[in-house]
Subunit: 238 residues, 2 copies
């Protein structure tokens, strides 16, 4: 199954330019053909092509099916962008495939990259949503200061942050993660969170966790955390 | 901590060319400096530089510490190489960081790539072993025919294979994986295993499994499986 993405399909009935090109030029679909479209807001539409145009393909909606995320909890990944942007892109592609609800780019004291354009990440995320047959595009937030973010997470949310140094007592993530209504996992930059950030996070109710005995890169730790949350969630639904 | 890799350190006392260059040219280390070296066979060595040479750095071993893999079970990932080689490289880097013992490249009926050079993958794996502070380099096996591999896995090994089609009854991997002495997980190509391969795998005691309700790319499924195995292993050691 191929999914197209048209965030405004219900108001415009149009496939955006990139998806129109893919549909009509690459796949050579024609007037009268049936296509599957998601709006990234939790709906999938069965549509018929009214006009096959390489830039502005016009559709008629035949059926609308709700496709909410299937994991049953709200997962926010707050991660410090890596020095190399491609590592972030790859990780986000995988995280969206596996399942997240929100991504926050964190600006930390030791961040090697304090600025990151979200356009390219957004494209990667849209592609991963389509590929993995989801109907909800995760929210991608601009780079946010660590302090601002930490103090913005409300009480009642389960809060974790990965921390590398053995000098600080840490819980095992796999053994302590509990799927709850709302979960936030923070992953620090290549140089880890600073001691001040650790104190601030703990003061705001974040649990310092380790992902095991391997030293993981930032993007690997992020993906490990997302996967572990899903695995444990599935186990708890047994 | 920086780890260098010298598979023959005990017999030659030498850092290979690439690591000599990194040590002496990039890090500008000198005679008398202490370095940490792993042999990829489960030992880490504390060494002193006898002669700092950009191609043939000579070392004296001061101490040898055994560093076996820490997860306590043998994990083999048998995976069909993806069409795009970079996806395989990314996945293997992450899998080595998280922890695997052996990788088998599978040639399947529907493989989009039936040939893959192992030199580059080996380099990626060495780098990931060093980076994640491991002392054992996972075994990387050349491309192996699906039928040959499936019939080569002995009884007593826990055997799983990811399968996408809902037409075949599948168990949930997270809910059914049991950490045992030896585990093999097979992940098929972009077009999935063929019906004949599924039958053959089941006949040889492989359990068909699903990783959840998201359609995952080959490399994402492989990484999900490796991570899930570790998470469940840590949970069972609670």
């Amino acid at each position: 199954m191929i999914q197209f993405y048209a965030p405004d399909i219900e108001t415009t009935g149009l496939l955006p330019e990139s998806d129109s090109g893919h549909c009509c030029r690459v796949l050579r679909m024609k007037e009268g053909d049936e296509v599957c479209v998601v709006d990234g807001k939790g709906s999938r539409f069965r549509c018929i092509i009214l006009e096959a145009h390489p830039k502005h393909t016009m559709l008629e909606i035949v059926e609308r099916v709700p496709v909410p995320n299937h994991w049953g909890f709200e997962l926010t990944l707050a991660v410090a962008p890596t020095k190399h942007a491609d590592r972030m892109e790859w990780m986000l592609e995988k995280a969206v495939e596996i399942g997240i609800d929100r991504v926050v780019l964190l600006k930390c004291a030791r961040s090697e990259r304090k600025v990151m354009k979200t356009e390219r990440l957004e494209k990667v995320m849209i592609s991963a949503m389509k590929q993995s047959l989801k109907g909800v595009l995760p929210i991608l937030e601009e780079v946010t200061d660590f302090k601002t973010f930490v103090s913005s997470v409300p009480d009642g949310v389960a809060k974790y942050f990965g921390y590398c140094s053995e000098e600080y007592p840490r819980a095992d993530f796999s053994q302590n993660f509990k799927p709850q209504t709302s979960v936030v996992i923070m992953i620090g930059p290549e140089g880890d969170f600073s001691p001040e950030e650790v104190t601030l996070a703990v003061d705001h109710g974040f649990m310092p966790v380790t992902f095991g005995d391997s030293r993981l890169r930032t993007e690997t730790a992020a993906l490990y955390a997302v996967t572990a949350a899903h695995v444990i969630n599935r186990l708890s639904n047994r």
